[in-house]
């Protein structure tokens, strides 16, 4: 029994040591991790660190956030992750969320945060910089860059004149087996939600059932669709506008081009947008960040580096792309896209999901 007691004591010491060790790591990492460069900016802003939860990846927005730090002297701590996961994290963190700003890849995630009451209303001068159709009607979030739905087609296999003006044209049996789509993809589902809003439930179902009858090839996302189109696995694919330009950069002869339908859900423009979280330490600094993202520098950056559409007047999209004003986009409230339940039910019901 004596040795059992000794074992017990050793065990407790080990357990305490483990807890202490873990706590030690916590302390070390809290001291070390936010390694910040010396800044030379405005002294009042310097004392504050802005915590950004970014659903956009570092390779896309890292450079422009760095530039924001340099120009304003505001230090940032950016957590990168998946758009939905970062929004869910803020919701799960509740009152203890360290987040000041949420920067996400689609209006749905921003809408979900707004619905949970986790976003602060943005000030009017900021809101006025962007087309009302591309921001929250209640002013809780704002579009930073535009992401247009397009039909990408293989330029070797399809003649541009064969492409219909309306998404309904793809119900024609001549497209059988030649369409690529990604029903599990968020952008596609936003498109279906838009279709329901614009044309009603019955018509949306009719369109989906019609496409299903044409036996579309299912892909996991937009990039695989564009690659599938380029490989000729399918002739056309329903995607967002900016994927193609990445492939065009490595291969200028990439055999894929954009086609826009006319005024229907197929030409919808979604956004990557930002919002101030209700746990923000300093709303003013948080808004400075959003203001910078809408500056000429940042908007030009998005046009030339992420190939998205700039949303502020006077800055042009690059590459062989139709100017955003010439896209005949449908008239919808993007925050209604937050309600995806009906879309999911519909997609499940017709067995697309």
């Amino acid at each position: 029994m004596a040795s059992n007691t000794k074992f017990a004591i050793i065990g407790i010491i080990v357990a305490v040591a483990i807890v202490a060790g873990v706590a030690g790591f916590a302390a070390i990492s809290n001291d070390n991790v936010p390694e910040q460069a010396e800044t030379t900016g405005a002294p009042t802003m310097e004392t504050q660190t802005l915590t950004i939860y970014s659903g956009r990846s570092e390779s896309l927005v890292g450079p422009i956030i760095e530039k924001f730090e340099q120009e304003t002297g505001i230090k940032t701590e950016v957590r990168y992750g998946d758009t939905a996961a970062m929004a869910l994290a803020i919701i799960e963190e509740g009152r203890n969320s360290p987040a000041d700003v949420y920067y996400g890849q689609d209006a749905g995630a921003l809408g979900a945060l707004a619905k949970e009451g986790r976003l602060l209303k943005l000030s009017d001068p900021l809101l006025q910089k962007v087309d009302p159709a591309l921001r929250s009607p209640d002013g809780e979030w704002i579009g930073i860059s535009g992401r247009a739905r397009v039909v990408d087609y293989n330029t070797n296999l399809v003649d541009k004149s064969e492409l219909p003006d309306s998404i309904w044209g793809f119900l024609d049996p001549k497209w059988k087996g030649k369409i690529g789509w990604a029903p599990s993809n968020g952008s596609f589902q936003s498109f279906v939600t838009a279709l329901r809003l614009i044309e009603g439930e019955d018509r949306a179902r009719e369109w989906l059932v019609g496409i299903m009858a044409n036996e579309p090839v299912v892909y996991s996302g937009n990039s695989p669709i564009v690659e599938g189109v380029a490989r000729g696995e399918v002739h056309v694919g329903f995607v967002n506008n900016y994927y193609l330009h990445k492939f065009l950069q490595t291969d200028p002869a990439y055999p894929v081009a954009h086609h826009h339908t006319n005024g229907d859900a197929g030409s919808m423009i979604n956004i990557a947008g930002a919002a101030v979280v209700d746990t923000a330490n300093n709303k003013e600094i948080a808004e400075r960040f959003i203001e910078y993202m809408l500056s000429e520098d940042a908007q030009t950056y998005f046009a030339t580096s992420t190939y998205e559409y700039p949303l502020v007047e006077g800055i042009k999209a690059v590459g062989p792309q139709l100017p955003i004003k010439e896209i005949n986009k449908p008239n919808i409230d993007l925050s209604n896209l937050a309600d995806l339940q009906g879309t999911l039910d519909l997609l499940r019901d017709i067995r697309a999901l």
Binding site: S29, V33, S59, R231, L344, D345
Partner: protein
Amino acid sequence: MNLSTRSRFKLGNLGPARASLPLIIIGIIVSAAMVLPLAYLGIRASEAGAGIMGILTSYRTFEVFANSAILALVVTALSAIIAVAAAFLTVKTDLPAKKFWSVILIMPLAIPSFVGSFALIATFAPRGSVLQNLLAGLGVEALPSIYGWPGAILALTLFTYPYVFLTTRASLRGMDPALEEVSRSLGCSTLSTIRRVILPHLYPSIAAGSLLVAFYALSDFGTPALMRFDSFTRIIYVEYQLAFDRSSAAILSLLLVALVTLILYLEHRVRSKAAYYSLGPGTKRDPTLISLGRWKWAALAFCGTIATLGLFIPVGVLLYWLLQGVAVGASFPNLGVITLNTIYAAVVATAFIVALALPMALLAVRFPSKSSTIIERLSYIGFAMPGIVVALALVSFGANHLPMFYQSMGMLVFAYVVLFIPLSIGAIRSTLLQISPRMEEAARSLGLGAGRTLLSVTIPLAKTGLLAGSALVMLTIMKELPATLLLAPTGFKTLATQVWTGAESASFSYSAAPALILVAISAISVTIILSQEKESGRR
């Protein structure tokens, strides 16, 4: 000669009847950590609205649930076959370059499953893939589709069989060679010795590895998504990521927990109660190797095929992406720091996990009781859940109950413990079963304290299992994504998060460099870990 199917000794008769307090304390602490995700799911599920009934009662949900269950079953069976064959060849035969094959055949574990699936698609997709381009000259316009069942089964099997391979290999090495010698001296042929003596001794380790494969197949999201397979995790992800409906996601996750519990229960029921240790002192000789003879080429072809599909093709595709990236002038900043981060997090977490897993395994093996069984079985829950579920549970727990701790290194290590402790427990458990409790008793009766006995008897004897467990944990941690993204200190990047960053923005060349480093440091860790085995094959 039938050493294993009937129990000759109740384990309880040999060891002390009750576990010592520290073991119980560690067991309780670890199980409390394992209960966190379950508690979170329970709370979220209780908040569910009426819509969930529609999902739960739909035929579709049932169908997809069945898909996942069948997938897990098939993948597990195939993995076990490949792994046991590979373990035999690399331990028990005169296969040339056994050390090389041992490392190479573990390596598919280092490939993140979405990278591996991507590589398989690039190679075998119906149109425009490498293989189809090669065959195009012969008039092959399209290959049979890899998507759906075949792709999901192929990818999951290739990237998870090492779980069984490592645990089985450890047990094979830990087996007392005297058992085979006795079998042969009694006139049994090689095949009959394998069937009647060796295989039965491997059941616990095959089962330990198979559980991991099954749970991985059930919880993985990347592979089914890329292979366009309708898996249950996909439904859970849809609820989380698109509908932001945490309650429906929780209820669906609990459905998965129910299936996992059933599997854990069944595995426990069929588990043999036999003693797997030998009663004598064991021999000090190396086991005699089975001569492959003319089968050597077939054996090499088998190992080569598995290694090609599971390692060489993914690495080849990664190299291709890297060269493409270099050609357009891609830069790969900070990879040195990121590599060190990855190694640091993995080594620290592996040390914690093994330190906690050993007492957990001791508790389960030396003091079998209802409660020690429940504690051991409970440890699998974190691993069997989709990563996002566990990560969000810990976000909720950390931010609200341990705010000082939240988004710290400690939190990340804690998350890795919750996710990956069963990898280590399983491997250690199956080697502990091979060690006679009499060894420990003898040490104790000679006056050694419990602590000394653990250090100088149990740990050296269980070394193969400890090492195999460490290798499994290390490799799995280094490629972990959802928990790392959500719980690591802000700005703490790992190779896996870098791979993801590239894939997220469709710049594969950006993914290629960190993925290749991941494979390289995994190979180095496996080599280091296996080189520790040298002395431990003999007793």
